[in-house]
């Protein structure tokens, strides 16, 4: 096994960076209850002024008067870590989240696929760098060692336990991943490196540092098995982007939308799922929001296609107020069955399959713009047909033995009164009398008639009568 560790040393800071992007100013992140706030991270400008983690904010301000203090956002950090775990799941099937700042992934099984560790490491670094987070990466045969080494030596990769043992022996105690109290006690005993610790007799060492610390040392060297809870991708997807300035037009949302959908695609790949229904929530001032639901005919995963549909939907809905944030929310993740394609698919460029075309049409024309047609076994002409959802299997044709009577190509939505009796009757009358049981009783004599203009029409009069001709269809 080969474990890679992605460690985000300034996660607390990077997770807030979207808010304040000024790099040269002295910045620090503080955390804790109001009375006992502590600095948890200081950037390089602040560090050069003497500010460091664990400091009291008042002390920090005294050292560096222009210091900007930011409040820590733990939720944002966790969200970022989840996003990186999703990203990592493209390279490994075995992922552990080591809160608060590290992700471990087993890469030994993926090395062949991704052309070896150097190439894989480069890809991981590129992907993380794209999101603007600082990251340290190390690889080692044990997960604990990978995490310890990522702290100590960015970019190191050790493949065998023997080499690992040597490297760990050189490591200062403070970087060994032990509790600070234990480290201080060992320092007091005159120990400086992990190597010195490894040489001590186990029983005596256990008495001094306790069994958990000894187990940690064993796990580092691969002497006992490691068992961490495996990371599972969450069952729903919610991502929120805040804007630095108010957005007045929906067209300006295309770029943030693309970013969110790209993230969604990665997430869906990790879960091996699709999305059939998602909601875009536009946040306005004072907590108001606009929800724009987007529905698809079948589960989808492709970000480009989702973007096209969501964009059309966005452009069609007007913004009631300037938007300050955009949230993409997916509650259901149905399984995705990828479409079956031929190996040598002769599909020409720019061509679409029906599914994609239907999605595109629905996005622009509305959810219920597409209809199928079906016959209904009813004698009343206006009820002898119905709309169906498109692409649903129509009921089997009626087993009619007698020839079907003439029916027009067009049926009028509303029958139209004819001013004059038709000059020529071609066939008829056909008495249609039905519906006494449901209150829509009809007793009509239908005729195929020809009008003076040569048009053939389907017209009716009330049964037995010969006046008040009404037009009901065209033999177009």
């Amino acid at each position: 096994m080969l474990w890679a560790c992605l460690r985000f040393p300034q996660l607390a800071f990077d997770a807030l960076r979207a808010v304040s992007a000024t790099a040269s100013a002295a910045l620090a992140v503080s955390d804790g209850p109001a009375q006992q706030r502590r600095i948890v991270f200081a950037n390089s400008a602040a560090r050069s002024a003497g500010v460091h983690a664990g400091q009291n904010p008042a002390t920090a301000h005294a050292l560096c008067p222009q210091l900007q203090l930011l409040a820590r956002d733990v939720a944002a950090e966790q969200q970022a870590l989840q996003a990186f775990a999703t990203l990592a799941s493209r390279y490994s099937s075995l992922i552990h989240l080591r809160e608060p700042t590290a992700i471990l992934l087993e890469v030994g099984a993926s090395l062949n696929l991704f052309c070896g560790w150097p190439a894989l490491q480069r890809r991981l670094r590129e992907e993380v760098a794209r999101s603007g987070f600082a990251c340290r990466i190390a690889a080692a045969p044990t997960a604990s060692a990978a995490q310890v080494l990522a702290d100590a030596d960015d970019g190191i990769a050790l493949t065998t336990l023997a080499v690992l043992q040597g490297a760990l022996a050189q490591l200062p105690l403070a970087q060994g991943g032990l509790e600070p109290g234990t480290v201080a006690a060992l320092h007091g005993m005159g120990l400086r490196t992990l190597g010195q610790l490894f040489r001590l007799p186990r029983a005596e060492l256990a008495r001094r540092i306790g069994a958990p610390a000894l187990a940690h040392l064993d796990r580092l060297r691969g002497r006992i098995a490691e068992a961490w809870p495996r990371w599972q991708p969450p069952a729903r997807f919610v991502r929120r982007l805040e804007f630095e300035a108010a957005v007045h037009a929906t067209t300006m949302l295309a770029f943030p939308l693309q970013r969110l959908l790209r993230e969604l695609e990665l997430f869906l790949i990790a879960r091996d799922g699709g999305v059939q229904r998602f909601t875009l929530v536009l946040g306005h001032e004072r907590g108001a929001s606009t929800r724009i639901p987007v529905g698809l005919l079948a589960p989808q995963r492709d970000a480009a296609r989702l973007l096209e549909l969501a964009r059309v939907r966005l452009e069609r809905s007007a913004l009631p107020a300037p938007a300050w944030s955009l949230t993409l929310q997916v509650d259901e993740l149905p399984p995705l069955v990828p479409p079956h394609r031929e190996l040598f698919d002769a599909r020409e460029q720019g061509r679409l399959d029906w599914q994609a075309l239907a999605e595109r049409l629905r996005a622009r024309l509305g959810e219920d713009a597409l209809h199928g047609l079906a016959c209904v076994a009813d004698h009343r002409p206006a009820r002898a047909w119905r709309h169906t959802p498109p692409d649903t299997a129509a009921p089997a044709a009626r087993g009619e033995s007698h020839p079907a009577p003439m029916r027009p190509f067009w049926l009028l939505q509303r029958p139209l009164a004819l001013h004059h009796a038709p000059p020529r009757i071609l066939t008829g009358p056909e008495r249609i009398e039905s519906g006494w049981w449901d209150g829509h009783d009809q007793r009509r004599d239908y005729y195929v008639v020809e009008l003076r203009s040569g048009q053939r029409a389907w017209a009716f009069v009330e049964a037995g009568s010969h006046t008040h001709w009404t037009l009901h269809g065209w033999f177009a």
């Binding site: 029906w354 994609a356 075309l357 049409l361 199928g372 190509f409 067009w410 040569g454």
Partner: protein, 244 residues
Amino acid sequence: MMFTPAADLFAPEPTSTAWPAPAAAMPAPPAASVVAAPSRDSAALETVLRHPGVWRRKSPAVAAVDVLPSGHAALDALLPGGGWPRGALCELLSEHDGLGECSLLLPTLAALTRARRRVVLVAPPYIPYAPALAAAGVDLQHVVQIDAAHADTHWTAEQCLRSGCCGAVLHWLAHGDYRELRRLQLAAESSGTPGFVFRPLAAASQASPSALRLRITSAADGTRFELIKCRGRVGGTTQLRLRA
């Protein structure tokens, strides 16, 4: 008859009362240079003449056109290749509703839907009556009706034609200009999908990029169909009467 000098090189268009302005309808073919090519370049000329868009008067065979049989023997005999052209726009210009202009397509639609090809009706003006379609043998499972606001119908028809996943696209167009029809024609060509556009007869006098234009009028003894434009047709009668 009024032909350009290239009449024996290029398939002429049948004349009609409404001959579209040549400059607008199609650019003048570069016929003169082809005809004047010296004989030593005959091999090059042959390759030019082998182009499917070039038809020579003296060749007996009709230029190969991919067609959809219309289901009416008399109409098939009129149309080059013996049917509706695939990958082109056909215009049906009807004087009124109820002259049999839609039923003319029913055999084609029945054949398409039975072959599991999808037929799309874009913005029909009335209800396409399912029992009539079923009686004509159309498999309703493969018929899709699309309702669209007036501003979107054109876009819808173009999308359907361009996608290449429809067997035929029927489009009812009350107003349409040359540019819009040109887009539809190009979309049909690019995907090989036949498009049928229903327009009022008044549009017959306007120039049109469609491959085929059929004027449908009522006569004392039935409905008269007249080809007022047909790509790839030479001479012969252009009229036929159906539904006496």
